[in-house]
Symmetry: C2
Subunit: 216 residues, 2 copies
């Protein structure tokens, strides 16, 4: 297919596609004349992945290029490929380094992950390095600074609920066939389901409040 | 206590406290000299609430003033007070009005809430008006525009998980004694637990990915 059709089928503008080609995020098409190239279904799939990384995941272009390189590295297993893609996602501010609230929050996060038997997003026995670990530490520290102490017992119900959510997420990722599609789905669904989750929680809170307090 | 002590005990700067006083968000202290006023524990509690609304909830000053007025309205029940506070929280962009993806998303959201037996955050029988309903519709529409159709069956596991989370949230809100403290907790915990929830979900996804795909 020509550039115009690739644009129409992907919903990505021709200007944006040309930018991705220049940045090496999309392999060049097969040249048919001096000014025209031909693209195939593999381009369409890769374009969807690039869009998921950059437009949905808001991953910087340089990081997106690294994610795409990792995808083509046959030495990496599937867990690592998904991890490299989702770890490149923005994770909010890193926790402050030498602050008593942060130190306490780190101990709470570690005790929680120990109780859950989770491995910090790394392979078994690895040190805590997932970016989401830093995001969790920051969030716990913010709660305690504002006078809402947040112990392992407070956090565990949230963790148990997201364990079920993660099974749903990974089932959906596995329903895609190719590694490219699975990574695309992992990035897009991780990001796009966040507002779903937050809005449903607020509706659930409103419902629970109505059940408890309506007319009281 | 004097202004300096109110600032030290609340962790809010004197400049910010003076701003809240000028804006009528905090009632004036009892004047003791021409230049000094005396504040009490009620001021401290109210200051924590104002900070929760404005600094944590990022609620605009005008909306915060309405929330505080609603709190003092004895005709309102507890459900309405909590609702007014959490509905004032920012909810992301409202869905587009006349767009096929939005119309379809609205039907999906309605079918989901019907199946759950939720009432859109309103009193029984009310029309869908909670701001989080618009946020949910936008999120479903964004998924479908990017080629990730999202049916009631996809959404239900997320909704069931947040139902459990909402019970935990409201238990925590109810553990506070006064109406002011409960509203403060509802706003602060709704907002502050969002990064906790999102970071735990990413860690849970990484853990689930490791269990399924490590070494494959």
């Amino acid at each position: 297919m020509r550039l115009a059709e690739l644009s129409a089928r992907s919903g990505v503008s021709t200007a944006t596609i040309k930018y991705y080609l220049r940045e090496g995020l999309l392999p060049p098409g097969r040249r048919v004349t001096a000014t025209q190239a031909e693209y195939d279904e593999a381009h369409l799939r890769r374009l969807r992945l690039v869009r998921a990384l950059i437009q949905v995941g808001r991953i910087p272009v340089n990081s997106a290029r690294e994610v795409l390189a990792a995808l083509q590295d046959d030495d990496l297993d599937r867990n690592s490929r998904l991890g490299i893609a989702t770890w490149a996602l923005p994770h909010g501010p890193a926790p402050e380094q030498a602050d008593p609230a942060t130190d306490a929050a780190r101990r709470t996060a570690d005790a929680l992950l120990d109780r859950l038997g989770w491995t910090y997003g790394g392979a078994s026995g690895e040190k805590p390095t997932a970016p989401a670990y830093g995001m969790l530490v920051s969030a716990i520290a913010a709660l305690s600074r504002l006078g809402y102490p947040c112990a392992v017992a407070n956090l565990e119900p949230y963790a148990r609920a997201v364990e079920r959510i993660a099974v749903t997420d990974l089932d959906l990722v596995e329903s895609y066939e190719t590694p490219d599609e699975q990574v695309e789905a992992a990035v897009a669904l991780t990001v796009l389901y966040e507002p779903v989750l937050l809005s449903l929680r607020r509706l659930a809170e409103a419902e629970e409040s109505r059940r408890r307090f309506d007319g009281t």
